[in-house]
């Protein structure tokens, strides 16, 4: 649970939800807004922590168990923090037919992580996604970061490694 007092002595990791407050003000009492609230919370914090879920529960009056249920139902929501760059690797039909598994292999080889994991340096997280809708450019991946979304099409093992290395050098 979130410790509310500012001079907390209990040793908990006090979480600051001031950024989320305006969102709650707008949506907390509007019925049917839970998914929107969770999306905004994830936009701000990168993932949904148990603290955030409890905070939303307090503000909306929806039980934490139910919020957890919704958060785990939809593939968009994450309960763990992610890296600076989120690799969304498309596993749609066209990508599958054109070798998405091979691309995944290359990413895993290069970064030493598998689907859903984050690199030790916290730079990359790999997420396989259902379809990015760029089927003519298959295989495709989208890399999300604070700088925006970048889509990479017609991937090969080499081009995906090159793209990842470029980011890595930028971050070094």
């Amino acid at each position: 649970m979130t410790c509310k007092t500012s001079d907390c002595q209990c040793g908990c990791n006090k979480v600051d939800f001031t950024e989320l407050a305006p969102v709650m003000e707008k949506y907390a009492k509007t019925p049917g807004s839970l998914i929107t609230i969770l999306q905004k919370a994830q936009d701000i914090y990168g993932f949904l922590s148990m603290e955030a879920i409890n905070y939303i529960a307090e503000q909306t009056g929806i039980k934490p168990a139910k919020i957890y249920g919704v958060a785990t139902f939809y593939s968009q929501f994450r309960l763990k923090p992610i890296g600076k760059y989120l690799i969304m690797l498309c596993k749609g039909t066209a990508c599958h037919v054109n070798g998405a598994d091979m691309i995944e292999e290359a990413v895993c080889e290069e970064l030493n992580i598998s689907d859903g994991e984050t690199t030790a340096d916290g730079i990359f997280t790999l997420n396989n996604v259902a379809c990015l809708g760029c089927c003519s450019l298959a295989p495709v991946m989208m890399i999300k970061s604070v700088a925006g979304d970048e889509t990479y099409g017609n991937l090969t093992k080499d081009s995906v490694k090159k793209a990842l290395n470029e980011i890595r050098q930028k971050e070094a």
Binding site: P31, G32, S33, L34, I35, T36, L38, Q39, G69, V70, F73, Y74, S75, Q76, F77, M88, K91, G92, T93, A94, C95, H96, V97, N98, V129, A130, C131, L132, G133, C134, C135, S136, L137, A138, V140, D149, T151, Y152, G153, K157
Partner: protein, 582 residues
């Protein structure tokens, strides 16, 4: 003069933003008075980035595959010199990709700037809405749609007028018009293209539908994976409100209608109406029993109508051109046109809009130009995870609801994934079951557990562990899942397995009894050997992660089959094509 750069998601993915920036930079450097504008996706994805240059008389020159490097050439020759830069212009052959189509849904995609309402108005935009709210009754509109024969383009193919009429007939002042823009079928992207390229058509379609059923509020449920679509839709809605095309008292009448966007959170099952409604209400997207139908009790228990993007995009055209004009296209029971997303092992992938009833062959070979690298065409997958694989022998099948359903596939939302001889059909079935297993909401036992069991069997078969009786077990399970599931997801989930067993039973048998994958795609069933083409360069033996390759320099190498893990790294590494995959 005006330069327009196509900037749909696929255009951007191929570097259209960089191309546009390069044009802007060079135009500025040369001090030219030329505007660089943007447009949506024209559908010829294989030619992106696409740049259109309009001269002062509105004549169009289209340049394709315009990477930043060749911008200078076009600027120099065309923008400065006034001569078409022929070498970068679209070829006559490529022109036929669009020339052979009949575009209603995609009529504006790639032609107008989706972020500028004026361009939409110039080509007659919002005239249909005006006509409806100022001069037609609710029944007039429903009747016009009935005459057109328009059926839902999301998958089920239910007559649109019937749904609107049902929602209209149910009592209550508060009613909702919902757009399903949660294009969840992997392999379909026509809705994204309309959202990104022509958002006002959707707004108009929803307003007209809202008028017909008596709704004053509409909700667009868009997938969160389409950030650009949401962005453009927000711009379009704001501009429409400013012009008085959305909001209170449209065109000075009593009719008020407004829209809002709700971003989906990623759940394929939300394509099902009642699941989508649950999701709109902030719940887990789980379907419920029908009746009551959404037209009776939908969003917040009020009469609700749900159509998908493509369906709505047809509506303004039907109102403007008349239901009969629409009905004159297509076949007896499948009227109008349908957009297909052509992808997979196809030479020219993209969005193809054709009248219903055109044979598959004309779409795949006539427009799509056949198979990549001229390999043999094996099958086309239609309808995504709910559909099936249609084999090469049925290539003359007319593409309409009835004929495609007869093959065991469905028209669905219009994904057409083309497969060649290197695609393993058992693996395709496994792929789709893996998808539906993950996306099953878990409410019905047969769907939740049955898809998992089917997947396990398919995984066994593709890894060489298949056994006698597996095919029959799959068929039995498939039937039970169909019978024991409440919603469309479960009822159709076994289709990819059933159609591949029906048309490619021999491939299943090869996997199970001969332990062979004839498409050479299932790795555990492959054998890698080295042919006489080997020059003994040693690269493969260095690359092999398990040291399975032995041999002296300049001597033919040998793979120890007992050690080989079939990773295929040797094949990637070999420069002489000496590694044989069998």
């Amino acid at each position: 003069m005006k330069v327009v750069v196509g900037q749909g998601s696929c255009g951007v993915a191929t570097g259209a933003k960089k191309t546009a920036a390069e044009f802007e930079k060079q135009i500025k450097e040369k001090g030219l008075n030329i505007v660089v504008d943007k447009t949506g996706c024209i559908g010829t994805c294989y030619l992106e980035p696409i740049v259109d240059v309009y001269d002062d008389n509105g004549n169009l020159t289209r340049y394709v595959k315009v990477q930043p490097e060749i911008v200078a050439d076009i600027v120099e020759k065309h923008l400065v010199g006034g001569q078409v830069a022929k070498e970068h212009e679209i070829s006559d052959v490529d022109k036929t990709f669009i020339g052979k189509q009949k575009r209603i849904v995609l009529r504006n995609c790639g032609l107008i700037n989706p972020e500028n309402i004026e361009e939409y108005i110039t080509i007659g935009g919002y005239e249909a809405t005006k006509k409806v709210v100022t001069s037609m009754t609710q029944d007039d509109v429903i009747n016009e749609i009935k005459v057109s024969g328009l059926r839902g383009r999301g998958g089920a193919g239910f007559p649109t007028w019937f749904k609107w009429n049902a929602a209209k007939s149910n009592p209550g002042k508060e009613k909702y018009m919902v757009c399903n823009a949660d294009e969840g079928d992997p392999g379909a992207f026509m809705d994204r293209s309309v959202l990104e390229g022509d958002p006002h058509s959707l707004i108009e379609g929803m307003t007209i539908g809202g008028f017909a059923m008596g709704a004053t509020e509409g909700v667009i449920y868009v997938r969160a994976e389409y950030p650009l679509a949401i962005h453009r839709l927000e711009i379009a809605m704001a501009q429409a409100r400013e012009k008085g095309f959305l909001g209170k008292n449209l065109f000075g009448t009593d009719f008020s209608f407004d829209l809002r966007i709700k971003a989906g959170a990623g759940a394929f099952v939300c394509g099902e109406e009642t699941a989508l409604i649950a999701s709109l209400e902030g719940e887990r997207g789980m379907p419920r029993l029908k009746p009551p139908f959404p037209a009776q009790k939908g969003f917040w228990q009020k009469p609700t109508n749900i159509n998908n993007v493509e369906t709505f995009a047809n509506v303004p055209w039907i109102i403007a051109n008349g239901g009969e004009a629409f009905g004159s296209l297509g076949t007896d029971k499948s009227k109008g046109t349908k957009v297909f997303a052509l992808a997979g092992k196809i030479k020219k992938g993209g969005l193809v809009e054709v009248p219903m009833g055109l044979p598959l062959k004309d779409v795949i070979f006539g427009i799509g130009d056949g198979i990549k690298k001229d390999k043999a065409f094996k099958a086309v997958q239609m309808g995504g995870p709910s559909g099936g694989c249609i084999p090469a022998s049925l290539i003359d099948t007319p593409v309409d609801y009835e004929n495609i359903t007869k093959t065991g596939a469905i028209v669905g939302s219009g994904g057409m994934i083309v497969m060649d001889e290197t695609t393993c059909m058992v693996d395709m079935a496994r792929y789709f079951l893996d998808f539906t297993r993950k996306e099953s909401c878990g409410k019905c036992n047969y769907c939740r557990v049955g898809t998992k069991r089917m997947l396990e069997i398919l995984e066994r078969i593709t890894s060489g562990e298949g056994k006698d009786g597996d095919i029959e077990l799959l068929e039995e399970l498939a039937q039970k899942i169909k019978d024991g599931s409440m919603c469309g997801l479960g009822q159709t989930a076994p289709n990819p397995v059933l159609t591949t067993i029906k048309y490619f039973r021999n491939e299943y048998e090869d996997h199970i009894y001969k332990k062979k994958c004839t498409a050479h795609s299932c790795k555990p069933l492959l054998t890698f050997t080295i042919s006489d083409a080997c020059k003994g360069c040693t690269l493969c033996s260095k690359r092999c992660p398990v040291g399975a390759i032995k041999g002296e320099v300049k001597q033919k190498h040998v793979i120890d089959q007992n050690v080989c893990i079939k990773c295929g790294k040797c094949e990637e590494t070999c420069k002489f094509g000496a590694i044989i995959r069998d």
